[in-house]
Subunit: 253 residues, 2 copies
DNA sequence: CGAGGGCTTGAATCCTGTCAACAGACGTGG
DNA sequence: CCACGTCTGTTGACAGGATTCAAGCCCTCG
């Protein structure tokens, strides 16, 4: 066997394990054999490029997807060509959990930049989770986590003003990048201002204004897509502070 | 055996089956034996009254809850005594799915009126879903459905104005009541204006104003907690119409 | 080099929150 | 049974924040 080919194959394999399996197995005590079985059903597709679809709204649901590198946005398209951005997905994050119920996708997913995505055929995964209780539990946790995340977003959109929304967005991005070993305060946005605004329920102009305001206040440096968070603590204070005041007092009966 | 007691016991049992099991087994082809096994682990507690807790934020996660009759609100309390209402739960709906991930509750749940609630110990349920693939699939669907629902709320809070939010709230309520065989256009609200506003991200005053506005326009009749939707179609038009315009056009690259 | 899209900035408008006052329902206790 | 206080809900006036409309800049790409 060609040694070069072997190395390359193993490299891909290891990268995938670090990512897909970390997402699915996280703190669970899967045996090496079980990990291997899970690894076996994961498909590695060729890299996708900006604008490529992972899936489109209405398509039959077949697989879950895990971002290996790059980034993906999910959005609900409307008839008129408008859209509602539902989320931005960074490496290590899973996509498609909302499609299980109706057995077809209720949103579309497109990659924002050249990305490597792992595909996990869901029926295969289900067969596995039936045999591996700890994997099943991990699946429940993943789904539950997604609900918890949406709950956070609910809070964000329901009660936060523009500054608090953008600050939350940036801090969230920062933390997620850090978790993947990337710089938490110096990164490039793969999405446009328009998409950020759409996601946060704000007009493009507002997003732009808040960015400049934050820059004037010395919280960050922004040059087009390039963002440097110079005062992460201050941004976190905006997020935190608003969490307390945001909701109105309501005295229990 | 006392015939009276037998009847009473069986009645409770049937009612529970119609509710809890309908939620969990919905269209799945569970065998009678499997249904029986599921039924065995469901606890029927005594009725709860307004203000009673199902669970509090921070408590260890043990069970899922299914509303049999009455209604429940879930909310995330903050240190200052404020709260963010996360949802209102009507008969047939399940509560607690967001607690699986962290193994403790991240929100509190209190009943809004005298209610009967079924309790399903989660570890018992997990053991069952391991043995019954169709039940496992149903659990995935339930969790996935919750995500889909949150997605809808995201859309609501991100892009809708006050009228659209309240209209959506009322139409949603109407449909869910109808699904349970109750009147879709004549019902009593078990939650206060304050709670509605909190849930929809609006001030109490705004909720009140929109109610009167809707009444002036002949869409509904409202007298305190009593609501009659006299023009459900118009309300649905407000919901639908906004879904199309709400999101801004965004041309794909 | 020109066209177009993404981004920024300014001015005006509108919606919604805040503050404030009040009416009605409810519960308690005299 | 009524007085009282409390809580909920309604309504009005006002201010502030975000959207909308409009214009212009800069970068990218054909």
């Amino acid at each position: 066997m060609n040694p070069h080919k072997v190395i390359s194959f193993e490299t891909i394999r290891v990268v995938c394990k670090n990512c897909t399996l970390a997402t699915l197995c996280l703190p669970m005590g899967l045996t090496p054999e079980d990990t291997e079985r899970l690894d076996m059903i994961v498909k590695r597709n060729r890299p996708l490029h900006r604008g490529d679809y992972l899936f489109r709204s209405g398509e039959r649901f077949r697989s879950l997807y895990v971002v290996k590198t790059g980034s993906v946005k999910t959005y609900a398209p409307s008839e008129e060509g408008g859209e509602q951005v539902l989320g931005f997905h960074l490496p290590g994050e899973i996509i498609g959990l909302d499609a299980i119920e109706k057995d077809h996708h209720i949103c579309s997913a497109r990659v924002l930049e050249t990305s490597a995505i792992c595909e996990i055929p869901f029926t295969r995964l289900e067969e596995l989770t039936c045999c591996i209780p700890s994997l099943q539990h991990q699946m429940y946790r993943l789904l539950s986590k997604e609900i918890g995340h949406d709950t956070d977003m609910l809070l964000l959109l329901g009660k936060r003003n523009a500054e608090e929304r953008l600050a939350t967005f940036l801090v969230s991005l920062s933390r997620r990048l850090q978790r993947r070993g990337l710089s938490p305060n110096d990164f490039y946005l793969s999405m446009s201002r328009h998409e950020i605004g759409n996601y946060l329920g704000l007009a493009v102009e507002t997003v732009s204004r808040i960015f400049t305001r934050f820059q004037d206040e010395g919280l960050l440096q922004v040059d087009r897509k390039h963002v440097q968070l110079t005062d992460l603590a201050a941004l976190e204070a905006i997020v935190k502070g608003s969490q307390a005041e945001g909701d109105d007092r309501q005295h229990s009966s």
